[in-house]
Every structure is written in structure tokens, then in C-alpha cells.
């Protein structure tokens, strides 16, 4: 009898061994990746083999996954592997971006080389939201003028390079303001900066931080696909690009109107099909380029990401005008002939090769000297612009020599719109 029991126990032990072997064999065999930057092996691609490479500038062979995302590189347990990831799905969230994207050789590099993206974005009005906060606080008596004092977070700038640059901002603390309008503003209106969790809805789908702009949603993003940023709709994207279509800008801009009496945001509900009516306020006027080009075809990286100074208002940083590209009846637009193979224009064109920019080419530049790298002076005196995202080619002539009689000093868009706006 005892022997039968022994046999049974042996059988049970054998079966449990088989079970353990089976369970163990279900654990995936680690797939090792040793990125050349860190030199430390990581097993992330065991599960994430199907993720597309985020960009050719961030090759997975060089960067791997952990350099940007953090996480436990040797763990094959999902929870443990993901437990120390920076910013969840988005390591570019401003709370963690310095560890993820920063570094001297990466995006907190030299300001002269324009590689200080981290510092510029931290101080940028798109992140600090200082303009709106200053306006509201001034309007409701919390500060005596329109100079910004507070931002969405406290920030300092040690090197001020413009007249309007501020040394620092405190963190906006609505609790210390008694005015109910400011409280309402704090509750309802802090969704409009780069690091804000986006509003609900597929039209607002974006990540935070760098990825708010640089990880654009696919144009055909569908409602039922995976998480996207803070919302549950839209497509998952694993991409970083400087070819940013207007649709990505529209996840924040052109979304509706403020109601300053209620301190609420009224989301637009019309859904026009064509682009002319899609993006702009009904009363506004536009020239053709304004609804044909992508926003970033004209607006520069300094306008979008800041110049490293803390500003009080977006007007202090927004300087592209019609004449930047077209000139005036008396002057040609400013240009620059590229002589340095390491020129920022050539480097930018290398990142997003819609144009084959070479030393010797002449590009348009802004009054601040920033090259419009996707433009080029043609031999016949005309200019050419290539859409950064659309890759469309646009040829245009300077105003000089045309029938335009607009004076050089009146160059705001309202003057140009008088003749050049399209019928809507």
C-alpha cells in the first residue's frame, strides 16, 4: 500500500515538473539588442519587435529603447519592465524630458549650434503659457501690467538675449488669487500648453512635451485604435519627425473660441470638408498660401520652440510676415548663400530631406537671420518653397517689380489681405 502511495506521489511530482517546464517554456526567449550608445543589452524587442523605428535619426541599433524610454532593460515581466519607464508612453513629457531627450550630445546641447531644444522649449511661451496667464491676471487686477510673472511651472533663464526676455517666472498659483475669474481660468483654461493633458476627443489627440508636435498622429487616425497621449482615441504612433503637418498644429490651434465671461472654451462644432473653411475663424481673411501650406512651412523652429528667452506674449516671438518671403515693392526678401556645410539650414534639410540643399544654394532668411531651409532662390529671380510635410513645390515671385503699391512700412497681414485674400 505504501508503495502505491509512493508511486502516486512520484507521478504527482513528475506532473508538476512537466507543468513547471510548460509554464517556463511559455516565457518568451529574450531577444537581445545592444545599442551602440549605451553598450548595455536590453530585451525590450522581445515583445516590441513590431514597433517601427521612431526615426532614422534615432536608429534603434544606436539608441535602443531604454536610452529614451527608461524602463527595466532586462525584465521580461511586463509590469516590472515598464515600472521605471519615463513618462509612461511618452518620455518627452516635460516632466521627464531632460533625462529622456536631454544631454550635451543630444537635445540640451550648445545654444550656438541650436541644439538646446530642451532649454528653449522649457522657456517657450508654448510651454509656460505665460502670455495667457499674464493677460488674465492683468485683466482681473492680479498684476499691474502685462509683463509675465507666472507660468505653468516655475522657470529661470540665466542668459537673456532679447529685449523682451525675462529672468524668471514663478509657478502660477491660482489658489493665491482671490478673483473667481482667475480661479475659473485656472480650472478651465490650462489645457493650452505643450505639456497639458489634451482635452477629450479625437480632434485633440496629441502627446505632451516634444511629442505634442513631433509625433504627429497619422492623418487617418481611427477612433478605435490604442491609447494616444492622454485620451483613449486615435492611433498609436511611434514616430519623431520634423515634417509636421498642419493637422498636428490643429490638435491645439483652431479648436474653437474662448468665452472670457464664462472663462470657458467653446469647442467649434462645424466640420467643414475643405481646408479653406476648416481651419480658420469665419470672419478671418486668408491668402492662398495661408490655407495651402502647412503651418511650419512658414513658421520657424524659433517661433515654434522659442529662442531660449522667457517671453510675456507670443507676439514677442512670432515674426514671420508676408514680406519675409515676398519682400516689399522696394526690397527683395532677405537671403543668405550657404557657405558652411554644417549650416543649420543644411542640417535641417538633412533631417527632413524634402529639398537637396547644398553649399552654394541661396535660401530666404528671416530678419533674425533664421534660414527658411525649405526655400531656395531660383536663377530666374523667383523663389521656390517645398512643403516640409506635403513635399509640394511652390514657385513664387518677389513683390519687387510687381504691380503692388503697398508701402514697405505697412506690412502686417491685414494690408496684404486687402488685395490678396480669397473669397470664402
Amino acid at each position: 500500500m505504501n508503495y502505491k502511495l509512493l508511486l502516486l506521489a512520484s507521478l504527482i511530482l513528475f506532473l508538476s515538473l512537466i507543468t513547471a517546464w510548460w509554464i517556463t517554456s511559455r516565457v518568451p526567449t529574450p531577444v537581445t539588442l545592444t545599442p551602440s550608445l549605451s553598450g548595455q543589452e536590453e530585451y525590450c524587442i522581445t515583445c516590441h519587435a513590431d514597433l517601427p523605428e521612431i526615426s532614422s535619426s534615432h536608429a534603434v541599433k544606436t539608441f535602443g529603447c531604454v536610452t529614451c524610454h527608461g524602463g527595466e532593460r532586462l525584465a521580461l515581466d511586463k509590469d516590472l519592465a515598464h515600472s521605471t519607464m519615463r513618462g509612461g508612453k511618452n518620455p518627452s513629457d516635460l516632466t521627464v524630458v531632460e533625462q529622456s531627450c536631454g544631454g550635451e550630445n543630444c537635445h540640451s546641447g550648445s545654444a550656438l549650434e541650436m541644439q538646446d531644444h530642451y532649454q528653449r522649449v522649457q522657456t517657450s511661451i508654448q510651454s509656460t503659457y505665460a502670455g495667457a496667464i499674464a493677460n488674465i491676471r492683468y485683466t482681473f487686477g492680479a498684476q499691474p501690467d502685462l509683463t509675465a510673472r507666472q507660468g505653468t511651472y516655475a522657470v529661470k533663464d540665466d542668459v537673456i538675449s532679447t529685449d523682451t526676455g525675462l529672468p524668471s517666472l514663478e509657478a502660477f498659483t491660482p489658489a493665491s488669487d482671490q478673483n473667481p475669474a482667475i480661479q475659473l481660468f485656472a480650472n478651465n483654461c490650462l489645457e493650452c500648453h505643450i505639456n497639458a493633458k489634451p482635452r477629450e476627443g479625437i480632434s485633440n489627440n496629441r502627446f505632451t512635451g516634444c511629442s505634442a508636435c513631433h509625433s504627429p498622429a497619422p492623418l487617418n487616425s481611427s477612433k478605435n485604435s490604442k491609447d494616444f497621449g492622454g485620451t483613449t482615441q486615435g492611433s498609436q504612433v511611434h514616430t519623431l519627425t520634423t515634417a509636421i503637418p498642419y493637422t498636428q498644429c490643429n490638435t491645439c490651434h483652431n479648436r474653437g473660441n474662448y468665452d472670457l465671461r464664462q472663462m470657458t472654451f467653446i469647442e467649434r462644432n462645424n466640420k467643414p470638408a475643405d481646408r479653406l473653411h476648416k481651419y480658420y475663424q469665419p470672419i478671418a481673411e486668408f491668402t492662398r498660401c495661408e490655407y495651402t501650406l502647412d503651418c511650419l512651412d512658414c513658421h520657424t523652429r524659433i517661433e515654434a520652440m522659442g529662442d531660449g528667452d522667457i517671453h510675456s506674449n507670443k507676439k514677442e516671438i512670432q515674426y514671420i510676415r508676408c514680406k519675409t518671403c515676398h519682400g516689399t515693392p522696394t526690397e527683395l526678401p532677405l537671403t543668405k548663400t550657404l557657405t558652411d556645410p554644417n549650416d543649420i539650414a543644411i542640417r535641417q534639410a538633412f533631417l527632413n530631406p524634402v529639398v537637396d540643399l547644398k553649399v552654394g544654394d541661396t535660401v530666404l532668411v528671416t530678419e533674425q537671420g533664421e534660414p527658411l531651409w525649405n526655400t531656395r532662390a531660383l536663377p530666374n529671380g523667383a523663389f521656390q518653397m517645398v512643403g516640409k510635410s506635403s513635399k509640394q513645390v511652390f514657385n513664387f515671385n518677389p513683390v519687387l517689380g510687381s504691380a503692388c503699391t503697398q508701402t514697405g512700412t505697412d506690412q502686417s497681414s491685414a494690408y496684404c489681405h486687402k488685395c490678396h485674400s480669397v473669397k470664402r
Partner: protein, 344 residues
């Protein structure tokens, strides 16, 4: 049948009534088997474990995920250790509740108690060797308790930790204690404990005149029963280890940062619960030591079990010892449960 080596480790025969499962609970034998499993799996882990603060948690991840069957081996080591504490506790309770510590077994009772303490210390040092965020709180708070010792506190802390903060020196000390210091003493004590069982006349039983029956079982039957216990325990261990992975967490980034998991290992939860009441020296060191003292004095100062009552459960003669141990066990269990509920 000629007895083989393993048979010869046992007496030729032992009394049948006192070798039944429901009397011994098989606790001592299972504890021995678990220690054997711990030694074997521990040796395998040593080949991969790297005892430095930078690499410890990463090497544990390597063992868990990369090494073939490494995860299973680690889980077996973990679960054997947890089971060893439970089984040792059951063994202790059995010995007191049957009065088996009566002279001449008083000294062996102390040896057993020392082994129980060694098992707890081994479990704690093994837990610390993970050196990940899951053990950070216990490491910092647990070792800081030493500093509350009057006069010698700081010296004791430095002796244990090899410095004024947890660091590389501390990890290597925990490693050395776990692998050599504690394990070596435990192995010697286990041999001594088993030897004393034989020397003290085998399992406790009443004098021949008072025995209900004089049936005995042979060493062959005994060995078969032991093998049976090992097979069942082994199967249970393997199944638990296959389905329930041992705890693991991300490496410690900053020892001074608040730990994500602010709880002690389960076998010290009762101490953690008491620490919430105030004075860390009183509740964290003095009370546990007093409990240990009370346990070790059971065979010496409390009413002794009388010989005629030996070999069965709950003799009347040492009722007080049973009540005291029962109360201690109950309090520890209740405190552990409270901590489990409130820590969540």
C-alpha cells in the same frame, strides 16, 4: 533487504504511535528537506548573482528572465524559504503543544529555537540581496533599528552595514552572512539538532509501562514515509514556483528617496505593525527579544510536562507553556494581518 546509507541515518525502529503524521505533522523532516532544496537552488543562484549595488538587482533580473529555468530556480529558492519559516513555526508549536521539550530534550529545544532564528535571519538577508526598490524600505528602516540600541547602537550598525549608510560594503556583508555566516551555523546546528534527537532517545514518548501499545515501525517504513513527504512537498513547491513568481522590483536608484513599497517582508510585518505604536527600540528590538527570551525559557522556568503525558497532544502538565506560546502566535498572526490590511 539490507539497509542502505539513508536507512542507516535512522534508528532501526521507532514507536508507531509517535511516528504518525497527525502527531509529528512531519514538520521537522519537511524543514530539513526545504533546507536541502534551499542549499541546492542557492548554489545555482550563486553562479549568476552579482553582489554589487549596481548589478545586484539586474543580476536577479538576469536569473529570472534570461538564465534557462533561472526563474523557476529562484522561485523554488524563494518559496522554500517562506515555507521553511512556516514549517519551522509549526514544528515549534508542535513541540510545545506535545510537551516534547521535557528533559532531556531541553537543550535540543534551544538548538531548534536557534535554528528558527537563523532561518528568519537567512530569509531576511536573502530578501535584502535583491537590492531593489521592493526591499529598500525594510533595508533602511530595519537596519536603522540597530541605531536605537543604547550605547552600542552606532557600533552595531557600522558592524552590520560596513559604513554609515547602506552601500556596497553593506551588500557584501549581507551576502557573506547569507552564504557563509548564517548558512554555515545553520548547517552545523541542523546536524547537531538531528544528532541530539537520537542522543536524547528519539522522539518523546511515555515510559514503557504507560504506553498504550508497544508497536514499532522499521527504518524502512520510516524512510518510505519521509520520501513520500519529500515527494509531496517537492510537487507542491514546484507548482507554487511555476505559477507564483518570487517578488522582484526595479533597482534602487536613490537610497534616500522614499521607497515605493514601504512594507517589511511578511515575516516581520508584526514588528512593523508594533513600530507604528511608537518607540522603535521598545517595539522593534526589545519586545521581539523578550518574546525570544520567553520562548527559550519555556523548558526551564514553566511547569514541566510530566513523563506519563508525553507522546500525545496537549498534556495537562505544561498547559501554561501552551497558553503562552499560543498567545504569542495569535498576537503575531493578528498583528501580521492588521499590517497586511493597512499596508495595502
Amino acid at each position: 533487504m539490507r539497509p542502505n546509507f539513508f536507512h542507516h541515518l535512522h534508528p532501526p525502529s521507532i514507536p508507531a504511535a509517535q511516528s504518525r503524521w497527525c502527531y509529528t505533522l512531519g514538520a521537522g523532516g519537511i524543514a530539513l528537506f526545504l533546507m536541502f532544496v534551499l542549499g541546492l537552488t542557492g548554489i545555482l543562484e550563486v553562479f549568476y548573482y552579482i553582489p554589487t549595488p549596481e548589478n545586484a538587482a539586474l543580476s536577479v533580473q538576469t536569473i529570472s528572465y534570461l538564465v534557462p529555468f533561472g526563474g523557476l530556480i529562484r522561485n523554488l529558492h524563494f518559496w522554500s524559504a517562506q515555507l521553511l519559516l512556516l514549517v519551522s513555526a509549526v514544528h515549534l508549536v508542535r513541540v510545545v503543544f506535545t510537551g516534547s521539550y521535557a528533559p532531556p530534550r531541553r537543550f535540543n529545544y534551544l538548538l531548534g529555537l536557534a535554528l528558527f532564528v537563523l532561518a528568519i535571519l537567512l530569509d531576511f538577508t536573502g530578501y535584502i540581496l535583491r537590492w531593489d526598490q521592493g526591499i529598500q524600505w525594510a533595508l533602511v528602516v530595519g537596519t536603522n533599528l540597530l541605531k536605537t540600541l543604547p550605547i552600542i547602537g552606532d557600533t552595531m550598525y557600522t558592524l552590520l552595514m560596513g559604513g554609515t549608510n547602506p552601500g556596497a560594503a553593506s551588500l557584501i556583508r549581507f551576502y557573506a552572512w547569507h552564504l557563509f555566516g548564517l548558512s554555515l551555523i545553520a548547517v552545523i546546528f541542523v546536524g547537531w539538532h538531528a544528532f541530539r534527537v537520537r542522543r536524547d532517545g528519539g522522539i518523546a514518548l511515555p515510559p514503557p509501562s504507560l504506553r498504550a501499545n508497544n508497536l514499532r515501525i522499521s527504518r524502512f517504513v520510516l524512510v518510505r514515509r519521509e520520501v513520500l513527504a519529500m515527494l509531496f512537498t517537492g510537487a507542491a513547491l514546484i507548482l507554487i514556483s511555476a505559477f507564483l513568481p518570487a517578488p522582484i522590483a526595479a533597482p534602487i536608484k536613490d537610497m534616500t528617496a522614499p521607497a515605493a513599497d514601504a512594507s517589511a517582508p511578511w515575516f516581520f510585518l508584526w514588528v512593523q505593525q508594533m513600530l507604528k505604536w511608537g518607540d522603535p527600540f521598545l517595539w522593534g528590538i526589545a519586545v521581539p527579544l523578550i518574546i525570544l527570551l520567553v520562548l527559550s525559557l519555556i523548558p526551564y522556568i514553566l511547569p514541566q510536562p510530566i513523563e506519563s503525558e508525553l507522546g500525545r497532544w496537549f498534556p495537562k502538565s505544561n498547559r501554561l507553556a501552551q497558553i503562552i506560546l499560543g498567545a504569542i502566535a495569535l498576537i503575531v498572526i493578528i498583528l501580521t494581518l492588521i499590517a497586511l490590511i493597512t499596508n495595502v
